[in-house]
Amino acid sequence: MMDNYIKMAWRNLRKERLFGLLNISGLSVGIMVASLIFLWVEDEVNYDNHVDNKSRIMQVQNTQLFEGQTYVSSSSPGPLAPALKADFPEIERSARSSWLSKSLFGLGDRALFEYGRFVDEDFLTMFSLQLVDGFAEQGLSHPNQVMISEAMAMRFFNKTNVAGSTIQVDANTQLTVSAVFKDLPSNVSVEFDWLRPFEAYFNQNPWLAQWGSNAIQTFVQVKQGTDLAALNNKIHGFIPAKSGNTAFTSKLRLYPMERWHLYNAFDKDGNEIEGRVKYVRLFSIVAWIVLVIACINFMNLATARSQKRAKEIGVKKAVGADRGSLIAQFFAESTLQAGLAGLLAVLLSVLALPYFNSVVSKELSLGLDQPSHLLFLMGIILVTGLLAGSYPALYLSSFDPVRVLKGAAVRSAPANFVRRGLVILQFAASITLVVCSILIYMQIKHAKSKDIGYDRYGLLTTVAYPKVAERYRAIKHQLQQQGLVEAVGLSDHSMLSLGANTGDYFWDGKEPNQQILITVADADGDHFETIGLKMLAGRTFKTDLQADSHNVIINKSLATLMGVAEDPIGKTISRSWADFTIIGMVDDFMVSSVYEGNEPALFSPLLSDTAVLTMRIAKHADMATVLPKIEDIFKQFNPEYPFEYRFLDEQFDRMFRLEALAGELSRIFSVMAIFISCLGLFGLAAYTAERRTKEIGIRKVLGASVMGLTNMLTKEFVILVGISCLFAFPLSYTLMENWLQNFSYRIDMAWWVFAVAGLLAVAVAIITVSFQSIRAALANPVHSLRDE
């Protein structure tokens, strides 16, 4: 029985090849898009799932009030972790961890930078580290031990059973590999390729013993069944209480690992708001919408040729078929098509996955070996097949065979209405997406084009390691002498990573309890000229930076705040331990993002060893020749360290990652939506052409031209698209206004964007429909008018 139905389903498919192909490809695209999105969602939701006690692991956050705004940070002081464990029975484990940092590791002639952390032993259990070689106990008991990942072991040793081996760090210290741990999955919040004992970090930074040193991360594990709210209340004022220093205003709280990835965003009052989970939810909804539209389209196209099927159904009924058999047959047909669509979707997903992974920066795999994934695919195929088959099955099988055999037209007002409604819906979605894509692109371009106060093109930054700092003069001389650079300068951080700020500056006229956050940075005298930051008044730092140790350079915003913008030179600005004289004022520049403005900033002379070297490449230089020469110079003076550099303009572009992602995704969705809409429209056009076959035949006999008929048929679809625009324009306007509101530096929405999107939709619609219209208009009336 069933194989007979399948056989007939196949024959039917081959007969209506074009329709079948369109239908299957439409559905498969829908399934593919939905599947890829769900893979992404799954990855996001499963973040940190490899940790055994995920629900009990917390990170300590502290909140501080500045000028009425609460800042949330995850930096803690050194003594916190052990103190929490000692004082609170609810806390069963605690670990200090340095922030993820880069160190140079070397073995023989292999030298690579690797990212890792300095941690306490409890960290290993708290983060469920699994070892492939060596032992966890006593693994971090000695400062010269290190645990490395499998990948890192492979990079240096080409094998993973290397516990006990020696490896060099920072070009001067020998470490013993105490264990090799299994590579972490890609969806983790806390990443590392190596772990060293916290003691080693502490030895280099003894100031961490102070309660005021907010410089590391603290993780804790709480006992089963702990009341988190109550515990948070208890530790709220822990730091001032423990340190005895009421000047410390940070309030503590524990933030659960379950919320690290998807939430971890806070408003101006320090309350949790939605972070990434917004996007997870948004994309899930989009996936379902795409799937539903694809299914509905499938149903739409499947029933577009109902006239032809009607006759067949009439005959089958006359010949003895009961409704049950007919229904079974239609279900077989639609499930077969849905099955083929599913297979095609898998194939398309395999092809699209590398590109998708690059867009969303993940390493997703189809995971067809996972039962949940297979079930999902099967489920989609079955549900779609059944849904799509239900309409023709139930509707078509109810036809009155007599009417149908006489050739009476199969008319159904509700069906027609539904079809039109669907086309309008799909086109409205497409137009909305097109508008969004264009506007997002424009906004990004606008933001990137903002004047950031200095010239970011042609600037290269590289970390100045100790030897570089020592031999700076010689390196600079070489670079300039060889004509490779125009200028070189030093600063403590790259201009795009100015994160340090403080409220601890005072001046005449400042309210004593006013907390104003000022961004602080260190630089040498050449730095400003190198990056192209205009000096509006005064001078830059001398070559002998020590001579300027009590002088500072401020920017215009800070000068304005101080009330000395007209004449800042010589004025005093103080910290709690010293007074400083302003010797220069630079123009305002982008401190944290293009969306902030008028941020006060202050530069002190660079007196420490850690620095970033910024160089402006000679104009019109050919990067391909210049870069190797620069590398040679650095290799000459700093042979142990590989030369790593970044272009400032590329780093700047990366700041727009999220917006760029939103833009890319909306472009992709636009294309998908248009494709699916065209399919829907094609189906409607076919259905209409068929329904009006007789009418067209008669009109032709009466003298209508092919052109005239084509116009007549196409016109009604253009009207549909017009109606779609009426829905799409306000919707997209609202969506984009909502999004653009987040940016203080934003575009105005130009009317022509909407016009372009609408015209594009109309053009696409006309092209899609014209095939059917022209074919109908060209049909020989003799054929159309003969009642079969």
Binding site: E312, V315, K316, A318, V319, G320, D322
Partner: protein
């Protein structure tokens, strides 16, 4: 076998009734070969469709082999009539996606007859009509006459007691027509009751009874 009483069917137009069939009383005995004749629009095809329960009247009763058809539920009606009635249409109405073999097989398939038995019956019919060599062809590869033969073979597949033919030779030339009518006569002699709608006096002559319809009402002539 068939007793129609006070059968009427109408369309409502505005506030009046337009009768397709008006107060038809017709009895067809087993083994009869009835020709239903009349001008266009006289309701002939409707009457035939009623006989095969493809259509229902607004008024009247239909007794088929002693059973009151309209008193039964729709699937009971289906069970009663389908296996006993074979249809032959003017436009053949073969299923284009199926081969000759599968077209003939179709009614057996819907009657839920097992595979091997179906094979036997279809094989017999192909033999009888001399179309064995054409069994894998599709309808659009056959001539009109051949298609009609397939249509008749299909009608016969369920070994019906009654054949209802709606202008079976309407689309055929005179030679093909003769062939078909002779076939019908032969079937009738074998015991199959036949009711045909026809325009042609020639075709009517093959039967043993003529019923005239005019404007939905019946006038009989032997």
């Amino acid at each position: 076998m068939i007793v129609l009483q006070h059968i009427s069917k109408w369309h409502v137009i505005g506030s009046t009734r337009a009768f397709v069939l008006k107060d038809i009383n017709l009895t067809i005995k087993t083994g009869e070969f009835v020709s239903i004749m009349g001008p266009s629009g006289s309701g002939k095809s409707t009457l035939l469709h009623l006989l095969g329960n493809l259509d229902q009247p607004n008024e009247g009763t239909y007794h088929f082999m002693g059973e009151d058809v309209y008193a039964l539920k729709s699937n009971q009606q289906h069970q009663l009539l389908r296996p006993k009635v074979g249809f032959v249409f003017q436009s053949y109405h073969l299923i284009d996606e199926l081969t000759v073999y599968e077209n003939i097989e179709a009614p057996l398939f819907y009657k839920k007859i097992a595979g091997p038995e179906r094979k036997a019956i279809v094989g017999d019919l192909l033999d009888r009509f001399g179309i064995v060599g054409k069994k894998s062809l599709f309808p659009n590869q056959l001539s009109g006459g051949q298609q009609q033969i397939v249509g008749i073979a299909r009608a016969l597949a369920v070994s019906p007691a009654l054949i209802l033919a709606d202008e079976p030779t309407g689309n055929l030339n005179s030679r093909q027509s003769e062939e078909i009518m002779r076939l019908f006569k032969q079937l009738n002699e074998e015991g199959v009751t036949i009711a045909q709608v026809t325009h042609s006096e020639n075709n009517a002559a093959y039967g043993n009874r003529i019923v005239h319809l005019l404007d939905g009402q019946m006038k009989e002539e032997s």
